[in-house]
């Protein structure tokens, strides 16, 4: 199998991640934070170590500012539903995933207004102007994807973060496609919230994620319940991470996430990005020379894109192309990628696209094999 579906989830996982997950299944079998016995304490320590690892990766030395969630979508929901009030206005980009679009669609029914700023590929000045132009008196937050999950186009988060600081706005980032590929910290992006999944560029396993918060945040909990703390009180504890972490933690997913972060750090995020961007550029250049292959962006460039490419072949429906590729041993994702807005923005909403994304494990053999199969299908 040639696996280029890494934007959906990376595969394979590093050995260290698999080992950490297996170790957690076998060893961390008590409930963290709920009891004082040694097994629970050991498990609590493992979660705390993971919190430190993830926090340091995203630029906080305070592990309490790292909230583990079931995934990036949950992190985003926690931010949007935990901070916006009726009468508030929020600005998002026109390339957002449904993880952002759908919660906001619901919030619009409760008196929150939403504007979409246009993103200009390879033109951060124009993108910034677009965001600046959408700011209103009641704007409370800008929340954006760091990079489109469909087209790989990066947004100038650092500059938008500066704009937010300048205008006193909260700033949140969906780093689903960038975490582990593009360095990002709370400080570098001037962000209040960074939402990440464990299982993509951080090479953890599915079912875990994190929300990294600045100390400016005042999120209301969306989910409430048992935290192992202040159990005699009806009110949710106000301190982090307990305020936003109810119910038993996904110990296996969290330990695997930390192992993934350590693996990425050890290998070097720049080394990984260089490898993946070189692969994406080569794929783009070679596909652009095949008749009948339609590409929708400019060639992926380090600094302006993440290694995600969308394409179609001739008049074929994207799902049909995906099916034909699967029959030939190629894993990609076709369709609308849970991001109809992004497809609307680039005019691909009627048939969708086929998306490919290399990973740190993608090889030259994978690229050559993929190009050969695409050329055959397009011929």
């Amino acid at each position: 199998m040639i696996y280029f579906d890494n934007a959906a989830t990376t595969s394979p996982k590093p050995g260290q991640v698999i080992d950490a997950a297996c170790r957690a299944v076998g060893r961390f079998t008590a409930n963290p934070g709920r009891s004082g016995h040694p097994m629970a304490a050991e498990c609590s320590q493992a979660i705390y170590d993971a919190r430190r690892t993830v926090g340091e990766f995203f630029g906080t030395d305070n592990p309490e500012q790292v909230v583990f969630t079931p995934g990036c979508t949950y992190s985003i929901n926690f931010v949007l539903k935990g901070s916006l009030n009726p009468g508030d206005h929020i600005i998002i980009s026109n390339l957002e995933h449904n993880a952002v679009v759908r919660p906001l669609h619901t919030l619009q029914k409760h008196g929150i207004s939403v504007s979409r700023a246009r993103v200009f590929e390879n033109d951060p000045d124009a993108t910034l102007r677009s965001f600046r132009g959408e700011i209103r008196k009641n704007t409370r937050m800008i929340f954006i994807t760091h990079a489109s999950n469909v087209f790989g186009i990066r947004l100038p988060v650092e500059r938008i973060g500066e704009l937010c600081r300048e205008r006193g706005l909260m700033f949140g980032i969906d780093a689903a496609q960038s975490a582990g590929v593009v360095p990002i910290t709370l400080e570098s992006a001037k962000a209040d919230f960074i939402c990440v999944p464990a299982h993509k560029g951080l090479y953890g396993i599915m079912g875990a994620g994190a929300l990294i918060l600045s100390e400016r945040e005042k999120l209301r909990p969306v989910i409430e319940g048992g935290t192992g703390s202040m159990s005699a009180l009806r009110d949710q504890p106000q301190f982090l991470p307990d305020r936003l972490e109810s119910g038993t933690a996904n110990v296996v997913g969290i330990c695997a996430m930390a192992a993934g972060v350590r693996w990425v750090s050890g290998k070097g995020i720049d080394t990984i990005a260089e490898h993946e961007m070189a692969a994406a550029s080569q794929l783009y250049r070679r596909m652009s020379k095949i008749d009948n292959v339609v590409l929708y962006t400019q060639e992926p460039v380090h600094g302006q894109h993440v290694p995600v490419i969308s394409f179609n072949i001739g008049d074929l429906a994207s799902e049909k192309t995906g099916e034909l590729l699967a029959q030939r041993g190629v894993a990609v994702r076709a369709g609308l990628h849970c991001a109809y807005d992004a497809h609307l923005a680039l005019g691909t909403h009627k048939r969708g696209t086929v998306r490919l994304c290399p990973s740190a494990f993608s090889s030259q053999k994978d690229i050559d094999g993929f190009i050969k199969i695409v050329a055959e299908l397009a011929g």
Binding site: P32, G33, R34, S35, G36, A41, S44, Q45, I47, Y48, R51, N62, P63, E64, T227, G228, S229, M230, S231, A232, L233, P237, F239, L240, P241, D242
Partner: protein
């Protein structure tokens, strides 16, 4: 030995790390009694209590209570 109750298990672990960085040895322990329910803290030697409380206060860690253990 004295337990400094700080609330959550995460905060207790952070408190332990902060104290360790300032050469005060401590350990995380779940409180045996708490009128508000469950909580965690760090256990330090009596002679380190004053310095420990000062370090934690400097790091904005709210001390809920102290008790001999």
């Amino acid at each position: 030995m004295v337990m400094i109750n700080v609330g959550s298990v995460t905060r207790a672990a952070r408190a332990r790390d902060l104290l360790f960085d300032r050469n005060i040895k401590s350990s995380v322990r779940r409180a045996a009694e708490d009128s508000e329910g469950c909580s965690h803290g760090v256990v330090v030697r009596q002679e380190d209590l004053s310095a420990a409380m000062s370090i934690l206060a400097d790091s904005n860690i709210k001390i809920r209570k102290t008790s001999e253990v």
